[in-house]
Symmetry: C2
């Protein structure tokens, strides 16, 4: 995939320039300086040679039979024509560096749409526009206007921000970190993160895929592709713009709790993509994955020549839920025999401030031999006796003969510099702060678990879709876009939710008869397509326990609603079984513009409204994801039961979440949904969806 | 303070050695290499010269009249004698480098106690034992065995871990960051963090105080001193061992929620000490405080030549609750006139990828002129046109003529290196990641607010202390260490809490009469010094609404308790007004081994037990601290009132917290306390302490 982008045999630069400093010049220069061995065809109607290369006036003038890749750096208005010329020459891959498209306003956006249309018409794939180009170190290809070409290596990186790309390349050059590919995505008119990830998945030079994104083009495609690719190679992404989503007008609980970041967070969880919260984390994780094998388990042994950093590391381990107490008796015995009496033979193993390289070596040997150890972090502080480069060599040598990951934290800067450089030669990642090493190890372990997890199955549930379709049609016909109460429960019933038995009474004696049939206590509510906020007009009465109360309530409701809303069409009063709402949950759905239906779960009332203790996933969800939604909320212990309470029926929640997911997938016209409350019964007894509300689109 | 430690005119090295690599040798060498200009007297009975310095056999042999400082590096067993010799020579300050004290076990701990005793007897102050020594760059004094001497500067640093100290000095040397003092605390037998902070407060060379601590010696002294010092200079501390507190046996809610870190967190909040969660944060904050003036407000303007990093910075600003929307219309107009049309003139100001130094300069000028701007972060990514060193110069020049702090984030490594070095010359801190710059600015602003806050007043509250003393005595006499129910409420009443009216009935007709007097509903509980868990033996009945129910309940309680605990002495059944517990809070107290009484606050029930939504402060607390405890919990909105509820009486909670704090301070023999529940009434109507439990010490 994208072979002609990454490893072209020949490249045309449309808009090549003689003038130094111009992008059209820099690109030709970078291609030459990078050592690209294919053919280079600068295109410029006014020049004859550029940097010693013969220049052609038009793309179609190029004498070669086939040209693999075009790099276009001419003004935005002319790009479309250039693309048509590319097609004439049979070029199917183009990098559009030129700016002046979507990023520059309305007119540019229109230009970008036309560009894409032309490209699709002629079967040309486009990277960009408004991008920095790409680099493929293994092909010595610097098809970008970044002058810096990182060393060869196995990290692939795509970036929605070109400038951030240059900063990261600069870091790679400074730190001598090897990269396989760098791809500047630009405006993502055609090629976007999903295709790039797919291509990098197949690329043998890339072991880990990094990305910086500000948005995602096609959310569902991303979910699909990322889930596949992340099973093969780790994908680590920093997504910015994570907080400023702000609040948008929303009619449901779910809607009001949904910031754009919530969808991303869910998407990353559901696809095994590793989220780096900052660029620093992106670097830290990248090094660990690029340099070291994945651990077979969570047990990290820490070796240190100083107590303080050992404590800092132990703190970080606890924060990452890593247990440090696993060294076997045999190991601690061996360590005790080996180390001075003042040393600590428990994890973190403190080999004391006077430890020289040989003590590091012997300790590392013993620790690596312990089958319970899945990885090692070696901490070094530069003390009077410390043999820094020698210790680095010793660690490096040991890493050659083990399958377990080894990370290092040589702390300081000046004295440890040479040691860190030697570590890098052995591909031992060094972290200035032990906390970062711990986080990186933990991330590797989490990723390994994801990789090993059997594939999830997404099943389609049985439901009476036709009935839901009818209800939506009917509501629309009545001129409404909100569905509540009876009709909402009918939708739920069609999706096999248990809903309370409920009937409409037309007069008070019918109300009493129905209440007797249903059993007390009951809830009574006005039934009218015109009354949306029933409580506000006195249209609801709860906890009615006797025929007299039901009788009186009927008349009171009718009188109040007639008074407040004399125009309202009244169809009667519903009588409904009242459930004990000791443990209620809320299920919801809102649509994210990038990812689509977002399913929400939380405990009812205060827990959602005040504490915002909710979890999210993007539909469709599978059983495991529904389960994770439940255990993820902080108030989960309340569902398990506190103070002697029995657990609620967790399976019933899982089922309800799956059904809501199915409904959201089946009916894109349902924009938002709240099932509130879903009243929980004890284990095995199910749950009742007492009330619900849906918002639908006008068409 | 500690003048003779920091700026001695003469130093004796007890245990100076001719042998290279030995600590006693390295210290003499470091003193000489550091350029110390005072007198140096190596002490060694077997040598005549060391590194060209004349050696004396005994301290008392030193010919000089006065010796200011002794550095002791002899075996632990001999240190006490050396100290006595110091006294004979009139030396009042000693650094004990020698190990083999508290850190090495029981025997060493005894040795350390004796050492301290000797020192106190002779009026000698000690730094150490088991420390690395100290460095005072302004006196060219390297009285440590760290070979690295950092450049001169205004950062003071004390460390409980010597090795971490060496790592930090190494960082300082590598990054060319200036330090004023480095003090290795070692075992803190005598001089500990509080005295050091006090001394550094008076030190004109130190502008910011950094510390690394694993524990605190005298918690209340620390609170007192840190509160004073932090008003003068920022104190930034990394405290390790923050998570591994684990659980300890505790009889109260408060006790079980108290990890050791909770006390530190409270102590830092109450003293204005800035807590750095990691060494990385410690560095980041140190640079900002050491190099730049404090901001006058929270408004940070961000200037960037790239969108991506601008978004990352904006994300970080939002996470730190910094509002970025404050640039005046005048400023944005000026920027619009100045910048290319594609630039963004709103904060973050995006001056585009082709920005050269002059565009940075003009933008910075306009932004700094805006009176609403309190500080600026300049972000630079190395792009094709970027003038990196020149831009650094421009920023540096601008910083000379403004009182506003300027921070920089030159991203990358190789290409930006020279720029960062130039920034450092102008004392502009550079952060590789804009997030760190934002956090540092926010920390500066928070510190400034702390500094400006008027001093807090701690008042002593009126209470019937004598009554409490009597109750405690009586309970102890009865052989109990737990106080509940009636007696607990009496203690509360003595501290002016409102407690429910409650009387003891000896028979059922008296019970009915009391209930009639109190008003229904009532709660009835067995009264017996032998029954601690009343509910477990059927000794509690709630919600009794009629004389018949009270009558029946009396007999039922008596029968059940007699059956389950036939030996129990029964004094009767208490009749108590039952309150509507719609909004309950819990107040608690537990004693932290380092800081003393820790006051807890949280909402009742689930909020404390499941969600652990609580806040802590160390007693004594003042009104402002009590208020902060209330607003800090996540469920605070519930106290303010949700769904149309009125707010509870916040003042009543504040008062209750102050009274509990007073009680904890007055009675150290009260080990733990739970006031649970404190039932809240509406604003102005107070609160009722319905139940409480205290644990007291045996003597």
């Amino acid at each position: 995939m994208l072979e002609k982008f990454f490893s072209p045999r020949s490249v045309a630069i449309v808009g090549a320039s003689r003038e130094q400093g111009k992008v059209g010049h820099e690109i030709v220069k970078n291609l030459l300086l990078g050592g690209f061995e294919g053919q280079i065809f600068p295109i410029n109607p006014k020049a004859t040679t550029i940097l010693g290369k013969k220049v052609y006036a038009k793309i179609t003038d190029i004498p070669a039979e086939e040209v693999d890749l075009a790099i276009i750096v001419i003004p935005a208005q002319q790009v479309k024509d250039a693309l048509i010329q590319c097609a004439q020459k049979g070029i199917k891959s183009a990098i559009v560096i030129s700016a002046g498209f979507k990023e520059s306003g309305k007119e540019g956006a229109q230009r970008e749409r036309e560009l894409l249309q032309t490209a699709q018409e002629y079967g040309i794939r486009i990277l960009g526009p408004n991008c920095l180009g790409l680099i493929n170190t293994s092909a010595n290809l610097n098809a970008s206007f970044s002058t810096e070409m990182p060393p060869k290596g196995n990290i692939a990186f795509f970036s929605q921000s070109g400038a951030l790309g240059t900063a990261i390349l600069d870091w790679a050059v400074g730190q001598k970190i090897g990269f396989s590919k760098f791809i500047s995505l630009g405006n993502k008119a055609d090629l976007a993160e999903s295709s790039i990830m797919e291509a990098l998945c197949q690329d043998h030079d890339s072991r880990v895929i990094l990305g910086y994104l500000e948005g995602i083009e096609k959310g569902q495609e991303f979910l699909h592709k990322a889930r596949q690719v992340s099973k093969v190679k780790p994908i680590i992404i920093t997504k910015s713009g994570s907080t400023s989503a702000g609040t948008r007008a929303a009619s449901s609980h779910t809607g009001s709790l949904t910031g754009s970041d919530v969808a991303f967070e869910a998407a990353f969880k559901q696809t095994g993509v590793i989220r780096a919260r900052t660029i620093e984390e992106l670097f830290n994780y990248a090094l660990a994955f690029a340099y070291q094998p994945l651990p077979q388990g969570p047990n990290l042994a820490i070796i240190t020549n100083a107590g303080g950093p050992g404590i800092l590391a132990a703190d970080a381990a606890e924060k990452n839920n890593l247990n440090l107490l696993f060294l076997s008796k045999e190991t601690t015995d061996k360590l005790a025999a080996l180390l001075p009496p003042a040393a600590s033979v428990y994890n973190p193993v403190d080999i004391l401030g006077d430890a020289k390289a040989d003590r590091y070596q012997k300790t590392l040997e013993v620790v690596l031999e312990d089958p319970k150890v899945h990885g090692v972090l070696v901490i070094l502080t530069p003390q009077a006796m410390t043999e820094i480069p020698q210790t680095a060599e010793v660690i490096g040598e040991m890493s050659m003969s083990t399958e377990k990951p080894i990370l290092a934290s040589f702390m300081g800067e000046y004295a440890v510099r040479e040691g860190i450089e030697r570590l890098a030669k052995y591909k031992i990642p060094n972290y200035s702060y032990p906390e970062h090493a711990i986080e990186s190890f933990h991330t590797m372990w989490k990723y390994r678990r994801w990789q090993e997890q059997p594939p999830l199955t997404y099943v389609s549930l049985d439901a009476d879709r036709e009935r839901v379709r009818q209800i939506i049609e009917q509501v629309r016909k009545e001129g409404h876009l909100e569905i509540g109460d009876l009709k909402a429960r009918e939708i739920l019933a069609a999706y096999r939710f248990e809903v309370p038995f409920s009937r409409v009474a037309e007069d008070s004696s019918m109300a009493v008869a129905l209440a007797e049939e249903i059993g007390y206590p009951v809830v009574m509510k006005i039934v009218s397509p015109d009354v949306l906020h029933k409580s506000d007009v006195g249209g609801v009465k709860v906890g009615l326990k006797t025929p007299e109360e039901v009788h009186a309530a009927f008349h009171e409701i009718m009188a109040k609603v007639r008074k407040f809303m004399p125009q309202a069409l009244i169809q009667g009063v519903s009588i409904q079984k009242m459930y004990d709402g000791k443990r209620e949950v809320i299920l919801g759905m809102a649509r994210d513009p990038q990812f689509g239906p977002l399913i929400m779960f939380g405990l009812g009332g205060i827990y959602v409204e005040v504490l915002k203790d909710v979890s999210f996933r993007i539909a469709p969800i599978c059983r495991e994801e529904a389960q994770a939604m439940i255990t993820e909320i902080k108030s989960y212990p309340m569902l398990k039961g506190v103070r002697g309470q029995k657990p609620v029926d967790m399976n019933a929640i899982v089922d309800a979440l799956l059904r809501l997911s199915q409904l959201a997938v089946d009916f894109p016209e349902i924009l938002e949904a709240d099932i509130n409350p879903l009243i929980m019964k004890e284990s095995g007894q199910g749950a009742v969806a007492v009330d619900a509300r849906f918002t639908i689109s006008p068409n």
